[in-house]
């Protein structure tokens, strides 16, 4: 059973290292910054650009669209989590590569979070930021045409 999807922003502590999402007018975006000098995009806001050393990292947001670089389904126990769950590296449009959980709530007939399938994703497929897992992880849903089981 995969994780459930929620649009309720989790309360992440200040030391929580996971990528931060924001909900803007019903659209889920990823927070981060872009270097004013070289344009490098990153999912945190460091004091200097890790690529060119520029000291103007402008806070911005990315997404919701993204392309899958690669993906897997983890099926072993991890403390505090119930396997299996889908994971993917996604390249946010004109933005950074981040790790996300994959939730196929399209398979959840009554929307109660039960019956959510673990979905394999194919590299190159399109996804969009969809919210958070109940553990507070950033989560994506595949675009319908990019489901691996699509005809």
């Amino acid at each position: 059973m995969s994780d459930r999807l929620t649009l309720e922003p989790p309360e992440l502590g200040p030391a929580d290292p996971r990528p931060r999402l924001t909900l803007v007018d019903g659209v889920v975006l990823a927070s981060g910054s872009r270097c004013a000098a070289c344009g490098h995009a990153i999912a945190v806001v460091p004091p200097r650009c890790p690529v060119c050393g520029g000291d103007t990292m402008e806070g911005t947001s990315f997404g919701p669209g993204a392309t899958v670089f690669t993906a897997t389904i983890l099926r072993i126990p991890v403390p505090g989590r119930e396997p299996p769950y889908g994971l993917a590296y996604i390249d946010l449009d004109d933005g950074p590569r981040i790790l996300v959980h994959v939730i196929d709530s399209a398979s959840d007939d009554d929307g109660d979070g039960d019956g959510v399938a673990v979905l394999p994703l194919r590299p190159g497929g399109r996804v969009h930021l969809a919210g958070w897992t109940e553990h507070g992880d950033p989560a994506v849903r595949p675009s319908p045409a990019d489901r691996e089981d699509a005809p």
Binding site: A15, D16, P17, R18, P19, A41, I42, A43, P50, V51, F69, T70, A71, T72, I73, L74, R75, I76, P77, V78, P79, G80, R81, Y85, L87, Y89, D91, L92, G95, P96, R97, L99, V100, H101, P120, R122, P123, G124, H135, D137, P138
Partner: protein
């Protein structure tokens, strides 16, 4: 003027889940074998120690070494993920080369069953570890990408496991000394798609050691010259990276090591490489220059990397079958190459092995192409 260096002696414990043995007990076996193998009068001949461990308690090296008389000398403990042992080896070699010390013990210690019941738990302070991103999943990611991009098949990945299990049958110290078939590998339970259980290393307890010193003479029968070693940490791995995680760090570290040794990959007779997961060996053999990008699946399928083939990879059984006690792995790889180059590898001996390469890379820090990678070239010119 730098000093030419050599491995004087090596030693290891057995590999496997050995909760009945403490870190000191495993260490005594490895270090005393290495001391005897090096022809040292005793532990008091050691000038300094570089110890690699990932999950060892603070003070694990001092706690283990005192009872066999390695005291009072500098002991430096290193954590560099799966490359901890080879990082200790690299630093020991540099210490001898620079003249800082003469007889240095490079040591790896790991007792994973004391820490974990199953797989290594993800690091919660890491951006990906905090999402439950256990190590098998990063290699599952690489495998998915390789299936998509290069058409690597499940059977090719399984063949890495089949080969390394077969090699381990000749290694009496190995954790998994039995053969498996492609069908058995693919039928074992799924761990991180598309990787199945027999494509993933187990946790293990072990210690491994090497004594490094100046090359005693060109004709010394026991010395195995160290022709080079290189250490790098990963560059940023992000949206600009077209290759899978870990490819570039291995390629760049290997290029440095080959250049220092004055050789290319075709000059190498035997390799010990980081195959914690089957796809890891496929990626690594490409990055080490044994074949082109995307050709690693066909390489293992061709038999090129089997004992009896032109360039055997992981004659010890590798991490998959000898075992992967993280901090001890690098020095177990060094020990295997030393035995191979001396012609002491028994049933798994590679014919006419004169030049050997060790490669270890470790990860776990999100955002970079690996925490660290070491590539070392051993053998006579």
């Amino acid at each position: 003027m730098t000093t030419e260096t050599a491995v004087w002696g090596v030693g290891t414990s057995l590999f496997g889940k050995q909760p009945q043995l403490s870190a000191p007990e495993l260490t005594w076996v490895a270090v005393l074998e290495a001391i005897d193998d090096a022809g040292l009068a005793g532990a008091s001949a050691i000038d300094a120690v570089y110890a690699g461990t990932v999950f060892g308690d603070p003070g694990v090296a001092q706690r283990a070494l005192q009872s066999i008389g390695v005291t009072s000398v500098p002991i430096i403990t290193i954590e560099n993920a799966c490359a901890s042992g080879t990082t200790a080896f690299h630093e020991a070699r540099l210490a001898v080369e620079s003249g800082r010390y003469e007889r240095v013990l490079a040591l790896g210690i790991e007792t994973m069953t004391a820490v974990f019941d199953g797989a290594i738990a993800p690091i919660r302070s890491d951006a990906e570890g905090a999402q439950g991103f256990a190590m098998p999943s990063i290699y599952g990611m690489s495998a998915t990408r390789y299936v998509h991009e290069f058409g690597v098949t499940s059977e090719q990945m399984a063949l890495v496991s089949v080969k390394n299990h077969r090699h381990a049958v000749g290694n009496p110290r190995a954790q998994h000394s039995r053969t498996v078939t492609v069908e058995q590998v693919l039928a074992s339970r799924m761990i991180a798609d598309p990787l199945t259980l027999y494509q993933c290393c187990s946790i293990a307890d072990a210690a491994a050691a090497a004594i490094i010193g100046p090359r005693r003479s060109p004709s010394h029968p026991r010395d195995v010259p160290i022709r080079s070693s290189a250490l790098r940490s990963g560059k940023l791995w992000d949206q600009r990276s077209s290759k899978v995680w870990g490819w570039d760090i291995v390629a760049e570290t290997a290029a440095l090591a080959y250049e220092q040794a004055g050789i290319g990959p075709s000059d190498v007779d035997v390799f010990e490489v980081h195959d914690a997961f089957t796809i890891g060996e496929i990626v690594t053999t490409e990055a080490l220059g044994l074949c082109e990008l995307g050709g690693g699946g066909r390489l293992v399928e061709s038999g090129h990397t089997s004992i009896g083939g032109p360039q055997p990879v992981n004659p010890s059984g590798g991490l998959l079958s000898r075992g992967h006690p993280l901090g001890a792995t690098g020095l177990a790889q060094i020990a295997e190459i030393v035995w191979q180059l001396r012609g002491e590898a028994g049933a798994r001996q590679v014919d006419d092995a004169r030049v050997g390469v060790v490669e270890t890379m470790g990860g776990g820090a999100a955002g970079v192409d690996g925490n660290g990678c070491v590539v070392a070239v051993l053998g006579r010119s």
